[in-house]
């Protein structure tokens, strides 16, 4: 198995399928995580993983060896996620902000592994985050994930999503507004509880 991505890409370009397999094994989990955040759905994320590696394989000749393979793959995965989001309009949720008031039991069957810090946050807050994320429209979700988690600038997101800068900004504004509406009361409660515990401890 080639030790570096660059070596694996060089071999894969010459038709070495084992070299490409090495790339799949190294990167498929990261692509899945990204796709899951973008699409909010494990099944869609698996499809994105397939499509991403298929495209990467077909476009290997266009990959510049000086570039970073994971960055390049990441870009393809983002595009594939966007394509899938557009191609499956039935998954469009696009709830109004008022829908957030109707959140009930979470149906997001997810198996997250919270970090120790995250244990400070109540399970309910995490549940709300999952629900609030799933209540975003596809463009809001894509723009928010790219800005908030991927750290892409609004200009970069505009180019990736093919939107004008203002449209991208407004997608992010709406997403943040919905997230705040869902989370603020709970985050405030958590803060209050933490402060009370701290005050009790000080007494």
């Amino acid at each position: 198995m080639p030790h570096t991505d660059a070596a694996a890409v060089a071999l894969a370009r010459d038709g070495d399928s084992e070299a490409f397999r090495a790339l799949v094994e190294r990167h498929s989990r990261a692509v899945f995580r990204l796709a899951h955040r973008m699409t909010g759905n494990a099944s869609d994320a698996e499809d994105v993983v397939q499509e991403t590696f298929l495209k990467a394989y077909r476009q290997l000749s266009r990959f510049e060896s000086r570039a970073n393979f994971s960055t390049w793959l990441h870009r393809i995965a983002v595009n594939c996620s966007i394509d899938l989001i557009r191609a499956r309009p039935h998954r469009e949720s696009g709830h109004d902000a008022t829908d957030l008031e109707q959140f009930g039991a979470a149906d997001a069957a997810v198996a997250g592994r919270p970090s120790p810090e995250r244990l400070m946050l109540s399970a309910e807050v995490q549940e709300r985050i999952a629900d609030a994320m799933s209540a975003l429209s596809r463009m809001e979700r894509a723009a928010f994930v790219l800005r908030h988690f991927e750290g892409q600038s609004i200009d970069e997101i505009s180019r990736a999503l093919g939107l004008k800068t203002n449209a991208t900004k407004h997608s992010i504004f709406r997403a943040v507004k919905k997230m705040r509406q869902a989370l603020e009361p709970l985050v405030a409660e958590t803060d209050t509880s933490t402060e009370s515990l701290a005050a009790d401890g000080a007494r």
Binding site: V24, S61, R86, R113, I172, M179, L183, V187
Partner: protein, 261 residues
């Protein structure tokens, strides 16, 4: 003196993400320093957004055998890497058509040998070039049809008017066209067809914008789309390139398949 106008939620969000413009940054920072209510509001926003980190957004665990499963699904679909138009042309339909044409070309060659005086034989390269040209012809035909469909969609958008117009049909058509458009654009980029690639890029931006417009498009949304189409003479460009493609389709195959004496 502190400005009386408070920062808006949008300004606070831009500030949080470091997206405030260089021109507005000093005013935003100065106002936050001086204004207690805005500072409190910003602190609330920070708390909420800070609570949404990657570990909070739980991602399903794909399981320990995920990589093996991915590879098992992927491997049968990996064909030998091919490039540009050729990669498109290796899909089944054009391939079958190209094979049929090759049979005809080769058949015509042997028929010619039997009925004409001996002439310099066409080389295998000439036959391959003819086959390649057939593939390109098929692709041109597909791109031409795609441009026609895009043109119709653009015309309908330009004609749509009124507040609250239901543009679900246009949205759905745009979504269908985007995937094809992207494929043709990438292929045009691969083959260095800059004019076609740029046109398809412009079309894709408009289609994407339409696909992202709410189902009941506001007059402003539609006006933006119309403005983009009109300011860039997009319809005119589509017609010009469509016409060029039709001309290229009419060019005889033999002309470029090598000289015959």
């Amino acid at each position: 003196m502190m400005a009386t106008q408070h920062l808006t939620d949008d300004e606070l969000i831009l500030h949080y993400y470091g997206e405030t413009t260089a021109r507005d940054a000093p005013r935003t920072a100065g106002h936050l320093q001086a204004c207690v209510p805005c500072r409190a509001e910003y602190a609330r926003l920070q708390r909420v957004l800070a609570s949404i980190d990657e570990s909070a957004v739980a991602v399903a665990d794909p399981g320990p055998s995920f990589e093996r499963t991915v590879w098992a699904r992927l491997e049968p679909n990996l064909k030998p890497v091919r490039r540009g138009w050729v990669s498109w042309a290796w899909s089944p339909a054009p391939l079958a058509l190209a094979a049929a044409v090759i049979v005809l070309v080769v058949g015509a060659f042997f028929a010619g040998r039997m009925t004409s005086p001996p002439t310099p034989s066409p080389t295998a390269a000439a036959v391959a070039a003819a086959a390649e040209q057939i593939r390109e012809r098929i692709l041109l035909s597909e791109v031409g049809a795609h441009l026609d469909r895009s043109q119709m969609a653009l015309v309908e958008l330009v004609r749509a008017d009124g507040t609250g117009t239901d543009i679900s049909g246009e949205r759905s058509r745009a979504e269908q066209l985007i995937a094809d458009n992207r494929l043709y654009r990438q292929t045009a980029e691969d083959t260095g067809d800059v004019a076609l690639s740029e046109l398809l890029d412009e079309i894709e931006r408009v289609l994407t914008e339409v696909a992202a417009t709410p189902q009941t498009g506001s007059s402003r949304d539609l006006a933006d789309v119309r403005r983009r189409i009109e300011s860039r003479d997009l319809l005119f460009k589509v017609r010009v390139v469509s016409s060029e493609i039709r001309e290229r389709q009419k060019a005889p195959i033999q002309r470029q398949s090598g000289p015959r004496s």
